[in-house]
Amino acid sequence: MTQTQEPVDYSDVFDQDTADRARAIIARYPFARSALLPMLHLVQSVEGYVSQAGIAFCADQLDLTHAEVSAVATFYTMYKRRPCGEHLVSVCTNTLCAALGGDAIYAKLREHLGTDGKPLGHEETSGEPGAPGSITLEHAECLAACDLGPVLQVNYEFFDNQTPEKALELVKALQAGEKPHPTRGAPLTDFRQAELQLAGFFEGREADLDGPSAAPETVRGAALAADRGWTAPAMPDDAEFPPLPEKK
């Protein structure tokens, strides 16, 4: 489909491993194009954002036009247009988290990461993108951890029940090259490694699975029930299936 347009050379950006991974993604699906979203995550794992080379790479793997890939890449919030920092810090500022302090957390981090008295903007990076300690900051929509709000994420790992002070400490630690442990999630790596996992490649990181099953908030109801001896009604021992319905 791209025959009428000039090809783009990206061989210096994406190596054979990446091409092999792209093929592995395609192999997961009945139809190749389903691989596009994971493949854009893969591209971000290489470059820290979706570049024009990344768009060309995906287009060629899937026999799409660059416009078709751009249409998809620009639709989703998680595909970044500019190179991200070593870490991506996402602060939930949706209504509930905001009311609980999310807006204050975001304001605090903007101010801390800004320069010359100018707060850092949404999706802007403090430091040289990709360099150790560089941080891209964004405000995020609801992250599905409302019972643990206000929440933020570093490279999509959860840091629950935050305050402006805790968040500031966390970001300072990240800038200093430390990797504080998420409340729920794997030991921190960096944005690109997280993107590789989002593309479905977890090799060598089996230990990442560990951590608590759930936060205390998550199991509040279950724990309370256990405490009070409340249960669901007992299942019968011999629940049978209904008879096979007659064909209409």
Partner: protein, 829 residues
């Protein structure tokens, strides 16, 4: 007598139909019809932006909301009438009868306008803008929106010919749907999301589609504008004249908009039988050739003293021409090369002129590769075939179970045929097989199957079809299947014979789809050495007598001996076998051997050229007679279907004369009466002549052995592209910017064998010349190189004097660095 109307006039609901009520009117509609269309049939226009009858429904703009009741229960929300189909018992209330629908439409209109700039006074669309019209008709008088409007930098070019103004866009997606669905060129897409959503192209990837101009036409606002037309006119200052495209053989309906004697733009006409509502960008944008600086407006005569052409009176020029031609006629004779772009009326005038003024059958319209086999094929399979007598049609293609394309690259040679093939294939109705050399964009976009062969190997491939591709034969055997053969078949000996045999064995119908608008008409007009007008053989005594009688000339006036074809005429002229040539719109560089043409024009004693603009022919002419371009005359084309495509004069009173009129006057000077003073009289004369009956046998030429290329040699595959060096695209830089990249193509294996690096450059040469251009990979058969026929430096005829199936030499062009490496050791020698 009057009978009181029967009060119980129940509407009859035929099979496959339903009955519903719209705004209180009972109506019967076919199942599956969209409400918006049913309403329209009743004369109820529901406002809309995204809806387009030829695009898949989107339901995006929400402007066409109506109230719907089903089974006596109103649906809770207003429904988009562009996406909802009719159902039995449905009760529909549009804005005319429903306050809810009216409010919904007003609400959507207000929302569409909050971010729309108020730049109507400088917008090209102003005056013909659906948004403007509907806002004035249905919108509020003032705005409640006091906030900040969305702004974008404007406008941005998305190709050299299309400009995008995102502020004006209402995101109806007509353009993206057209490009993705109709053209198959998804280079323009929705980008971003939500209120930032916008139309756009990928970075540095312009909207390179042969059909992009249609998006400008169907844009319901001024978001997409034409670089060529921008700021040139207001719609209400233009005069619109229905016209027919003069470029390819599809004969598309067009509308030409002009002002003060100048064409400002061309739009697609609506003709469901032919082009539906689409035209290609060549048909839309390529019209300034007619006003190029080198346009000839006065007759020219070669001055005996200076040897230069000088302007003359018509009287003088016609006198000199008549004298020279009469002398030549009475000597060794005159050959006529009329070109493939004439109207039927002008072609008829040429044909009659040759026969009764010049008394010769040395006449041929084929200004391209041609063969006797082709002539036999045209005579046996094409002559006289029309939509009325069972010929292949656009709609026939759409309904065909299968289409086999032979030596025919539809997107390049007949773009509207390509669109029909894609439409048919997309609807999963038609299987498309391409007998060609590589997977061209058209193969992909028609979801086609490539039957690849080496150039020249096409007849063998067809003959072996039953053996190697039984499924193709089976598909072609289904009633309605078609074989479409292109003009390139004339370059492959045995191919027309193989096509004829395959058609006979499978029962598939055959259509011949030449590249030029006038070729099919010229065939019927007898602009060929073996045919008289109206489908009569030169060699048929009775037919000649019939024509002589109709033309009122003496029995025996018409020569009985078949004449020479284009190459024969040129060969004779170059070697003293003819004393004069009459040449119409022929570019010598389109001919199989341009050098032969050059020699013939140089050698022959007398040349009369009927031309629009200066050319390699006028450079040799003794008399040049200016003729009118299509836009300045009336006439008709016969499209490839054999369908009559009449058009009137768009620009009146320019003083330019049609060929038929010039020839008529010239004939008078030579004591012959053509009765072709006007296109109408020519048409009437042709009509009076009626049709003859030709019973011709299909050709049975067997394919010769294929040439065996030596080391470093390969076989050339080549065809012309839609946008190339053609002189009718002159003066259109915006159009030229969307031509496809000029590259040679090789398979990876062949490139490796030849030591060619793909992505680098190659030189393709013959003993006549060489061209150098970038090379890229394609799935060509091994031992084959592909070149565009006449694009950029790739002037295959002119420079290489080669064609499809020629043997050529391919050598790698070493880049400067490596060339130095090789030469430096000997550099000091």
């Amino acid at each position: 007598m009057t009978i009181a109307p029967d009060k119980s006039t129940e509407l009859v609901v035929p099979e496959g139909h339903v009955k519903l009520v719209i705004d209180g009117i009972e109506v019967v509609a076919p199942k599956g019809e969209l409400l918006i269309r049913t309403a329209e049939r009743l004369g109820i226009v529901v406002p809309r932006f995204c809806d387009h009858p030829l695009l898949d429904p989107a339901g995006a703009c929400r402007q066409c909301l109506v109230e719907v009741e089903m089974g006596g229960r109103p649906m809770p929300k207003p429904q988009a009438s562009c996406t909802m189909t009719v159902a039995d018992g449905m009760v529909v209330k549009t804005q005319l009868t429903s306050p809810v629908a009216d409010k919904a439409q007003q609400g959507v209109m207000e929302l569409l306008l909050i971010n729309h700039p108020l730049d109507c006074p400088i917008c090209d669309k102003g005056g013909e803008c659906p948004l403007q019209n509907q806002a004035l008709k249905h919108g509020r008088a003032d705005s409640r929106f006091h906030e900040h409007k969305r702004t974008f930098p404007k406008p941005i070019p998305i190709s050299t010919q299309v400009l995008l103004d995102r502020e004006r866009c209402v995101l109806c997606q007509r353009c993206t749907r057209f490009s993705a669905q109709i053209a198959g060129d998804p280079f323009i897409e929705l980008l971003e999301r939500g209120s930032q959503q916008q139309i756009g192209v990928a970075e540095e990837k312009p909207f390179q589609s042969y059909f992009s101009g249609n998006t400008i036409q169907i844009c319901p606002v001024g978001a997409l504008t034409s670089a060529q037309y921008r700021f040139r006119a207001r719609p209400f200052d233009l005069v619109s004249t229905p016209s027919v495209c003069e470029h390819c053989s599809s004969g598309c309906a067009e509308r030409t908009d002009w002002r003060r004697g100048k064409v400002q733009r061309k739009l697609a006409g609506d003709d469901p039988e032919v082009n539906e509502e689409w035209i290609c960008d060549k048909g839309r944008f390529a019209f300034r050739y007619a006003t190029a600086d080198d346009r000839i407006t006065r007759p020219l005569v070669r001055d005996k003293a200076t040897g230069e052409l000088r302007e003359s009176s018509w009287t003088e020029a016609l006198q000199v021409a008549a004298d020279g031609l009469a002398k030549a006629r009475d000597g060794k004779g005159v050959g006529v090369l009329a070109g493939g772009r004439l109207t039927v009326e002008d072609a008829y005038a040429y044909s009659k002129f040759a026969r009764i003024a010049l008394r010769t059958n040395d006449v041929d319209f084929r200004a391209r590769a041609h063969s006797a086999e082709e002539l036999e094929f045209l005579t046996s399979a094409v002559l006289g075939v029309t939509p009325d007598n069972g010929g292949v049609t656009f709609k026939g293609i759409e309904a065909a179970p299968a289409a086999l394309l032979v030596a025919f690259e539809p997107e390049e040679e007949a773009p509207i045929v390509f669109l029909r093939l894609r439409k048919a294939a997309r609807a999963k109705k038609t299987k498309v097989f391409h007998l060609g050399q590589f997977t061209s964009p058209a193969v992909e976009k028609t979801f086609g199957t490539l039957l690849a062969c080496v150039p020249g190997g096409e007849p063998a491939a067809l003959n072996a079809l039953a053996e190697h591709a039984a499924d193709v034969v089976e598909e072609l055997g289904k009633p309605g299947s078609v074989i479409l053969v292109g003009e390139r078949a004339a370059e492959v000996p045995g191919l027309f014979s193989a096509v004829s045999a395959l058609a006979k064995s499978t029962g598939a119908k055959v259509a011949w789809i030449p590249r030029r608008a006038g070729e099919r008409g010229a065939l019927e007009a007898g602009l060929l050495p073996t045919l008289l007008p109206g489908g009569r053989l030169v060699s048929d005594d009775a037919a000649r007598a019939e024509v002589e009688q109709a033309w009122g000339v003496d029995a025996g006036t018409l020569p009985a001996k078949p004449g020479r074809d284009t190459t024969g005429i040129l060969t004779a002229a170059a070697s003293g076998g003819l004393d004069a040539l009459v040449v119409g719109g022929v570019d010598p560089f389109d001919l199989p051997d341009p050098a032969l043409a050059e020699r013939a024009l140089d050698f022959v004693g007398f040349v009369v050229s009927l031309e629009l603009r200066h050319s390699a022919v006028t450079a040799h002419a003794d008399v040049v007679l200016p003729i009118a371009p299509a836009v300045e005359k009336a006439g008709s084309y016969l499209n490839w279907e054999g369908r009559h495509r009449p058009f009137g004069t768009t620009l009146e009173g320019t003083g330019a004369l049609p060929d038929g009129r010039v020839l008529d006057t010239l004939a008078v000077e030579m004591d012959a009466d053509l009765f072709t003073q006007t296109p109408a009289s020519a048409a009437a004369d042709f009509e009076r002549l009626g049709r003859g009956v030709v019973r011709a046998q299909a050709p049975t030429v067997s394919a010769p052995l294929l040439p065996q290329p030596k080391d470093g040699q390969v076989v050339l595959a080549t065809w012309r592209r839609l946008l190339d060096n053609g002189s009718m695209q002159d003066d259109e830089p915006h159009l030229a910017g969307t031509a496809r990249p000029v590259v040679a193509k090789l398979s990876e294996a062949t490139a490796a064998r030849l030591g060619v690096e793909l992505g680098g450059e190659v030189t393709v040469s013959t003993d006549r010349g060489a061209v150098t251009l970038p090379v890229e990979s394609a799935d060509l058969p091994d031992g084959v190189v592909w070149l565009p026929g006449n694009s950029g430096a790739a002037t295959v005829r002119r420079t290489l004097v080669a064609g499809h199936g020629s043997v050529v030499t391919v050598t790698a062009v070493l880049d400067a660095g490596s060339a130095e490496e090789i030469t430096s050791p000997g550099g000091n020698a």
